[in-house]
């Protein structure tokens, strides 16, 4: 009898614990226009990280967006039609990190730079770089006539090895100052930021904060984690003045890089406001297989301010029409003036 009871207990225990996995079912809606719309709206509602910030900045109301776009969804609409409506809905977020990927097209919002003056022209830049500039690790660099070093870094996606940075800084060792031009750099690997910034600091610097959503609510966030950058103590470092050139094309990792460098005492950001992109992107999929990229983790500057809509420069400069006509890059010239004035102080 005792054996009977023990065996029955074991059987009941086995059955009860297995009920946990019965909860793990796919919750994705059906692959219909309405199902895809619902999936997109709900996943963004739970995962997108800037709803509260954008509600305060320009009155974004994601529930109101649902009410406005839902009537445009019908069962018999084409894939192209659905794609168009979903892209329009996502554009309400005004976020360059939000994309809808399909075989039809890549849904995007590039208003962060398309609606502003370019403030960067390669033919003007070539007047400074010349043809005998050096190339290494994604950097293109040259020494200008007034003994100021000039580096153009167009993309954070490549691997930036320490040896390339050592080579470049060594090349500039006798220069009075350094211009780092990151205009129209759309971002890339966030890890490259630390590699560069670590060459311009003498002690650990708190560059900013990052947190992540820890629940589906718009205000559900983890505690802020501090982003410290350590100096590259065993590598070549630079302690002379540095001018960072920015425009609206600076996005994502570049935006964070400008924010980090701006906090350093010997650094001046010159040019236009950066394009923004202060969220670390992540991805999910819709029932029809379209892929969605979205901002998942907000990154804040060292004063805990949002950088999603860009970083304001220390010296605001646009390329003037007259300089443009003369083949002069107003922003590079302003940087040269600032470096020389910094040295004369």
């Amino acid at each position: 009898m005792r054996h009977h009871i023990m065996n029955i207990k074991a059987l009941l225990l086995s059955l009860s614990v297995l009920s946990v996995t019965s909860c793990i079912r796919e919750t994705m809606p059906d692959n219909t226009p309405a199902g895809n719309f619902e999936a997109l709206w709900e996943m963004m509602d739970q995962r997108y990280c800037f709803f509260d910030y954008k509600a305060s900045e320009y009155g974004l109301d994601w529930n109101e967006v649902y009410v406005r776009y839902k009537p445009r969804i019908s069962d018999n609409m084409s894939s192209e039609g659905l794609f168009e409506v979903l892209c329009e809905m996502l554009s309400e977020l005004r976020d360059g990190h939000v994309n809808l990927y399909s075989s039809i097209d890549v849904g995007r919002n590039w208003s962060w730079y398309e609606a502003f003056p370019p403030n960067f022209y390669e033919h003007l830049q070539s007047n400074y770089l010349g043809t005998d500039y050096r190339i290494g690790g994604g950097l293109r660099y040259q020494i200008l006539d007034d003994n100021v070093g000039y580096i153009y870094y167009s993309d954070f996606t490549g691997s930036l090895d320490d040896s390339y940075l050592n080579r470049a800084l060594n090349y500039f060792s006798l220069c009075n100052g350094l211009i780092i031009d990151v205009r129209s750099n759309g971002g890339g690997y966030i890890f490259n930021i630390d590699k560069i910034v670590s060459r311009f600091i003498e002690e650990p610097v708190l560059c900013g904060y990052v947190c992540h959503k820890n629940g589906p609510g718009h205000s559900d966030f983890s505690d802020y984690a501090e982003r410290w950058i350590e100096p590259a103590t065993d590598q070549l470092r630079w302690n002379k003045p540095v001018a960072i050139l920015s425009n609206r094309g600076c996005y994502s990792a570049t935006n964070t890089f400008v924010s980090d460098m701006k906090a350093l005492p010997q650094v001046c950001v010159i040019g236009d406001r950066t394009g923004g992109g202060g969220g670390i992107p992540s991805s999910f999929e819709l029932p029809n297989g379209w892929s969605v990229r979205y901002s998942a983790c907000p990154m804040l500057d060292s004063d805990r301010r949002q950088i999603e809509f860009g970083v304001e420069p220390d010296i605001r400069v646009d390329i003037s029409d007259s300089d443009f006509a003369r083949g002069v890059d107003t922003i590079i010239e302003s940087a040269r003036v600032w470096i020389n004035s910094f040295l004369s102080k």
Binding site: H3, H4, N7, A10, L11, S14, L15, V17, L18, S19, V20, T21, S22, C23, I24, R25, E26, T27, M28, N31, A39, M43, R47, Y101, S103, I190, F191, V210, H212, K213, N214, G215, P216, S222, A225, E226, R227, I280, P281, S282, S283, F284, E285, P287, N288, G289, S291, R293, A296, C297
Partner: protein, 290 residues
């Protein structure tokens, strides 16, 4: 592939039925008593200075839902290789020390066919099992064990968080029921084995926790979880028949793995079902247990 799409094999019905049936074995044997006999005579389990090893290859299907990577279910073919060995525990009579090593790999696609995910899992499951029931044609062993799973799931389309590391280490219970079926004087050993991890550690990043925070800023606390049956359930079972063919014993069977957890706001379940074919060998242990 077929198993990967079958509702029965990809729901909790199968593991529930499995546990219920295995738990019912003692009841059945209690209801039909028989005289005890020596295992060596039966030949289903190793005698002293002997071990039974089996190597097998498997082919079937996998079904995976990992919400950290995607809210959608991925399905595809599964291939596995497994090695199993069992021998008597020298320090204690009536105890056996089996261990099981398994590698399963699966390329999977989303239902609509345009998303890809790859999974690779390595399992190591040693256990120490006591002989509880011993009858002329039937044995039942069960005891504590260790469950170690290391692997990963890689979603091709994700940008910043493309993969999920899988690491599950737990104290487990394991058991094996074996029955000798004689067909035309050929002894066929039917075996049914289950492994159930109970308490341990499972790596699973919380909802929204990014790689950058974990691996660059060192925010690993949100990825480590205490695993217990309230938040993680796993059942591994193997049903096999060892058939004498010529001078060797051929193993044919089925292996099912049902692994699911709900931790930190992230749900994950990976089911795999494969058909096995392999070879069983009896090896004499010569020196120092080798």
């Amino acid at each position: 592939m077929i198993l990967g799409r079958c509702r029965f094999f990809n729901s909790t019905v199968l593991p529930m039925v499995t546990c219920a049936l295995f738990a019912a074995i003692p009841l059945v044997t209690w209801a039909f008593p028989d005289k005890e006999t020596d295992l060596g005579e039966v030949g289903m389990s190793p005698v002293n200075k002997e071990r039974i090893s089996a190597v097998s290859l498997g082919f079937g299907g996998m079904n995976a839902l990992d919400e950290y990577l995607s809210p959608g279910v991925y399905r595809g073919m599964a291939f596995d290789f497994s090695y199993q060995t069992i021998r008597r525990f020298r320090q204690a009579d009536g105890w056996y020390s089996p261990y099981f090593f398994n590698v399963v790999a699966s390329p999977m696609r989303m239902g609509n066919g345009n998303g890809r995910t790859y999974a690779l899992m390595l399992d190591f499951r040693p256990s120490w099992e006591r002989l509880w029931i011993q009858k002329p044609k039937f044995t039942l062993t069960a005891g504590p064990g260790l469950f170690v799973r290391v692997g990963g799931v890689y979603n091709v389309r994700n940008s910043n968080n493309p993969a999920q590391l899988k690491l599950h280490i737990a104290a487990s219970v394991s058991g094996e029921a074996a029955y000798r079926l004689t067909v035309s004087s050929f002894p066929i050993d039917l075996r049914w084995r289950i492994d159930i991890p109970l308490l341990g550690y499972n790596f699973s990043p919380d909802f929204g926790l990014q790689y950058y925070e974990m691996y660059y800023l060192g925010q690993m606390s949100g990825a480590s979880h205490f695993a217990w049956p309230g938040n993680l359930l796993m059942l591994g079972q193997r049903i096999s028949a060892d058939i004498p063919v010529g001078g060797v014993r051929l193993r044919l069977g089925y292996m099912g793995d049902y692994w699911g957890y709900n931790m930190g706001g992230v749900r994950c379940r990976i089911f795999s079902n494969t058909f096995l074919i392999g070879i069983v060998r009896r090896v004499e242990i010569k020196h120092n247990g080798r």
